[in-house]
């Protein structure tokens, strides 16, 4: 049992994570009261596994998934994977604890049943498991599978309160933006395959050279990544996704979903860094998100909205840092994710706890809560300090790395970095201060401890990271090495000197304070700017596209033909056009030939003429009986043609068939009530429709005619099977070749045809017996 004695850490981490939702759902089904407990326990196990895996490190597991497509189930618990796995499971654990307190309250508000908890925790843990799988995937297709799995989980979580229209819209929007952009990841993967014939990331890193294909592929994958990280201009889904219950928002923003986007950038970074244009694009997009998110965050009033836009802005940083690249850029981006995840999830949980306590979700309605909720205030103060990058928090180092990276890239970037950090300082401070400071507002109900403890834990971690940064540094360093593709060291310490980073940090604090204090002057203009943005921004574009698509759909639906004649016409006319196209396209010589007519053919021609004339007669309006008789006239004259061609067997069958069909036809006509027949006979179609029908009929006839003519213009094949049939008939004990063909050579066809007759019989019986098939 080597497997038990020496387990593969990569597999263990993945399996434990995948078991979490499964076990929770099973226990939940068994007894719904188990759900929350099971969720906490299984997430704790997953977290333990992830930490243990990170410690034991660098294990991989690979097995062929599909031989035919050359895709492998290849996972590697490298530094990058460890970091994100620890984050996803660790924060997942705190979220599960939080949710166990939050969901009963939520149930109370929304009137949901206890059983709905199973769904909630099931998808939450599936989300976590998908993240863990995603971060370990080394095969692009496998990665795509986990990537979409996170989209699925988030869809159901965002739409959890499906009775609210807001939730439904938000869920659909999140799914459309992240699901459709995920197709970019897939196409990018296939493009890479077309160039290097592999989906395996390690192999791709080895062999990829800068080329147009690689640039395109990477850009497409980045579209997926950036949409998931809610980067401008695909950011608009994230604020809407706040319709989800708070634990989901907290998770979505810190360690799952949005983090998955920047994770993917980190994962394929060796390919990203091949083309500097791609890196520049990252700086532009990240910068735009930073500014847009930051400005909007400054003006929002709803807690979760402030935080949502802050996330857009702060992942903007991460993207910018990846764009800046180099040792500092990559290290900074990676470290930033850790710092941000810890602090941001705490703030979301704070928002949720405050809303539960006061029943209000707006900054305007609350204030001065620090006295009433001191523990929460302290916990979230520490977390806020982290995001504001104050010293003695882990956040200080995230900005230090950012500034260090920007240092090498010229003034513009440096100013930009300061501006971004200032915004971030300001909106976080505004958020925390708006809730806990100022005049006292809002009634406070006691909330369960499980809503406060996770905030405290995360806040403590933020401060701990500022004092003893080593574990976090180590985690980030391991991860950044993987992204960077070579050795890299992160050095983090406080320096009491006037190096650029420190100066930049100081100016951020100063500027941030100024921004906060001058709120009354800039608030109006910024608000107006945001309004304009809403009117012409991508969110509006999305809404318009959706609306337009539904309108377009309705209007082309009006063009659908609805009556039987037109439905037939729409088959005949296009086939006529296609045949015409084929005639034009194909070489014309010898396609159509005439042969001479001999006097002996005269009777034959005569009967064919009769058949044709009866065919034309059928379409002339007349009563049903005459129509049936004319129709049978076609058949009878064709029977004569067969006889004249020397096929008495066929002629006999034709005559008999025509006879019995005419009898049956008349029998049916008798069944139809007279008034209906009379009504139909007296129907006169408008002239224009008659003309149209005539044209269509003519086209249909021509199609058949042209095809048959062109086939008949070929001399019939020199060796037909019929020759062999005639030769072999005596062997089959037969003298009448037709019968032998029907019963022996091609008896199987006859077998089929009598089956058709039997089925038709079954159908007629059941339809006629009771007037319906039952």
């Amino acid at each position: 049992m080597t497997w038990v004695n020496d387990p593969n850490p990569a597999l263990v981490v993945l399996i434990v994570a995948l078991l979490a939702p499964l076990v929770t759902v099973i226990l939940g089904f068994w007894d719904t009261r188990n759900t929350a407990g099971a969720a906490v326990a299984t997430t704790a196990a997953a977290f333990a596994a992830a930490v243990w895996g990170a410690w034991n490190g660098d294990a991989s597991y690979s097995v062929v998934w599909s031989e035919t497509w050359g895709i492998r189930f290849e996972i590697h618990l490298d530094g990058l994977a460890s970091m994100y796995a620890v984050l996803a499971t660790g924060i997942g654990l705190l979220i599960a604890v939080y949710a166990s307190g939050y969901m009963p309250l939520h149930r109370h508000h929304t009137g949901k049943r206890r059983a709905d908890d199973v769904r909630f925790f099931g998808f939450l843990l599936l989300f976590m498991a998908a993240m863990v799988g995603l971060v370990m995937s080394q095969d692009l297709i496998l990665l795509f599978v986990f990537w979409d799995l996170t989209a699925i989980a988030s869809y159901f979580l965002i739409g959890y309160d499906s009775e609210e229209e807001e939730s439904r819209t938000a869920a659909l929007m999140a799914l459309l933006v992240t699901g459709v952009s995920a197709v970019g990841v897939l196409v990018g993967a296939l493009l890479l395959w077309s160039e290097y014939r592999t989906f395996s990331l390690p192999l791709l890193f080895q062999s990829a050279e800068p080329s147009t294909t690689v640039t395109w592929a990477v850009s497409l994958i980045l579209v997926g990544a950036l949409a998931k990280s809610a980067q401008f201009p695909l950011h608009f889904w994230l604020p809407r996704a706040m319709a989800a219950p708070t634990p989901v928002s907290a998770y979505l923003h810190s360690a799952a979903m949005v983090a998955a986007g920047v994770f993917l950038i980190g994962r394929i970074y060796p390919l990203v860094s091949l083309d500097t244009r791609v890196l520049d694009a990252l700086i532009v997009i990240g910068g735009a998100s930073m500014v847009v998110g930051g400005l909007v965050a400054l003006t929002r009033d709803v807690f979760k909205q402030v935080l949502a836009y802050s996330t857009i802005s702060q992942y903007g940083y991460v993207v910018v840092m990846f764009g800046i690249g180099g040792e500092y850029g990559v290290a900074g981006a990676t470290f930033y994710v850790i710092a941000h995840a810890i602090a941001k999830s705490a703030l979301f949980m704070t928002a949720g706890a405050v809303t539960e306590a006061t029943g209000s979700a707006r900054l305007a309605d609350v204030g001065g809560l620090w006295r009433r909720m001191p523990w929460l205030a302290v916990g979230s103060a520490m977390a806020s300090a982290g995001l504001m990058a104050l010293p003695f928090t882990i956040g200080f180092f995230k900005d230090e790395l950012f500034f260090a990276g920007a240092d090498g890239r010229g003034q513009l970037i440096q100013w930009f970095a300061v501006a971004g950090a200032t915004l971030s300082f300001a909106y976080i401070a505004r958020f925390w201060a708006g809730i806990f400071l100022g005049p006292r507002q809002g009634d406070v109900q006691p909330v369960p401890a499980s809503l406060v403890i996770p905030v405290g834990v995360l806040g403590a971690l933020t401060v701990l990271g500022g004092i003893w940064v080593e574990p976090f540094r180590w985690l980030a360093e391991q991860a950044a090495r993987v992204s960077f593709g070579e050795e890299l060291e992160i050095n983090l310490a406080y320096h009491l000197d006037t190096r650029t980073e420190n100066l930049m940090a100081l100016s951020v604090y100063g500027l941030g304070a100024v921004v906060l204090l001058t709120g009354r002057w800039w608030h109006q203009p910024v608000e107006r700017l945001v309004k304009i943005g809403n009117r012409i921004g991508p969110a509006r574009g999305y809404a318009l596209a959706l609306y337009g698509m539904n309108r377009l759909s309705d209007s082309i639906h009006d063009f659908e033909v609805r009556d039987l004649r037109s439905r037939i016409a729409t088959i005949l006319i296009p086939s006529g056009a296609l045949v015409l196209l084929a005639v034009i396209y194909s070489p014309t010589q010898d396609t159509f030939r005439f042969t001479s007519i001999e006097s002996g053919d005269l009777p034959l021609l005569l009967m064919l003429g009769v058949a044709a004339a009866s065919g034309v007669m059928v379409v002339i309006p007349q009563d049903h009986l005459r129509m049936a008789l004319t129709l049978s006239g076609v058949g009878f004259s064709l029977a004569v043609v067969y006889a004249l061609l020397g096929a008495p067997d066929v002629a006999l069958v034709a005559v008999l068939i025509e006879t019995i069909f005419t009898v049956v036809f008349i029998g049916i006509l008798v069944l139809i009530p007279r008034p209906i027949l009379r009504y139909e006979r007296n129907l006169r179609a408008p002239r224009i429709r008659l003309g149209r029908d005539a044209i269509i009929a003519f086209i249909a006839g021509s199609v058949a005619f042209v095809v048959v003519w062109s086939a008949l213009s070929r001399p019939s094949a020199s060796t037909t099977v019929i020759g062999r049939h005639i030769e072999q008939s005596p062997l089959a004990h037969g003298y009448d070749v037709v019968t032998v063909i029907l019963a022996d050579f091609r008896g199987f066809d006859t077998m089929g045809e009598i089956t058709v007759i039997a089925i038709a019989f079954v159908g007629i019986l059941s339809l006629m017996r009771a007037g319906r098939l039952r």
Binding site: V664, V738, I754
Partner: protein, 169 residues
């Protein structure tokens, strides 16, 4: 509604009655002689069912119940199909290709005059039964439907009936 005022003269009735047996004989002849001359089980089936149809047209649907052969013909459809299927699939059980007829190609068969007894004839009988059953069954169904329609229309005119007929057309 007095649509169906069937006016059959005595002459028609006598002719129809007299013709029935010859029609059957011709049908059977055509089927058995199929391998030698024009015709096969299919034509035979159509001819025989036309004969029955003639009776029904002249004497009405109750005529169908008079002869047991005719009465059971619709069920015969499936018997015929079964016979045909057996001739096709029994060789497969014996390891031969489907529809390998017996006696094998080129070997002598028991014959009665020019009529040879081979499994292909059994197949043709199956075809005959299917076609005959179909013809009789359809004739019967149509005739009964007409009976039903005229009897109901004769008693009273039900709006539901007309509505249903309207839907059907």
């Amino acid at each position: 509604m007095s649509d169906r005022t069937v006016t059959t003269t005595v002459l028609t009735q006598v002719a129809a009655r007299i013709l029935l047996i010859p029609i059957f004989v011709v049908a059977i002849g055509i089927m058995i002689k199929g391998y030698v001359d024009i015709g096969d089980g299919f034509s035979a089936g159509v001819i025989a069912s036309l004969g029955v149809a003639l009776q029904v047209m002249v004497f009405g649907p109750e005529e169908l119940t008079r002869l047991p052969v005719i009465q059971r013909a619709p069920k015969g459809t499936f018997l015929g199909l079964l016979i045909a299927l057996l001739t096709a699939f029994v060789p497969a059980v014996r390891g031969q290709p489907l529809m390998t007829h017996w006696p094998p190609a080129g070997e002598a068969a028991i014959h009665f005059g020019t009529v040879e007894f081979i499994t292909a004839v059994a197949f043709d009988v199956g075809v005959f039964l299917v076609v005959f059953g179909f013809g009789v069954g359809v004739t019967a169904t149509l005739a009964r439907a007409q009976e039903r329609k005229s009897s109901m229309a004769g008693l009273f005119s039900r709006p539901g009936d007309a509505g249903e007929a309207g839907e059907r057309s």
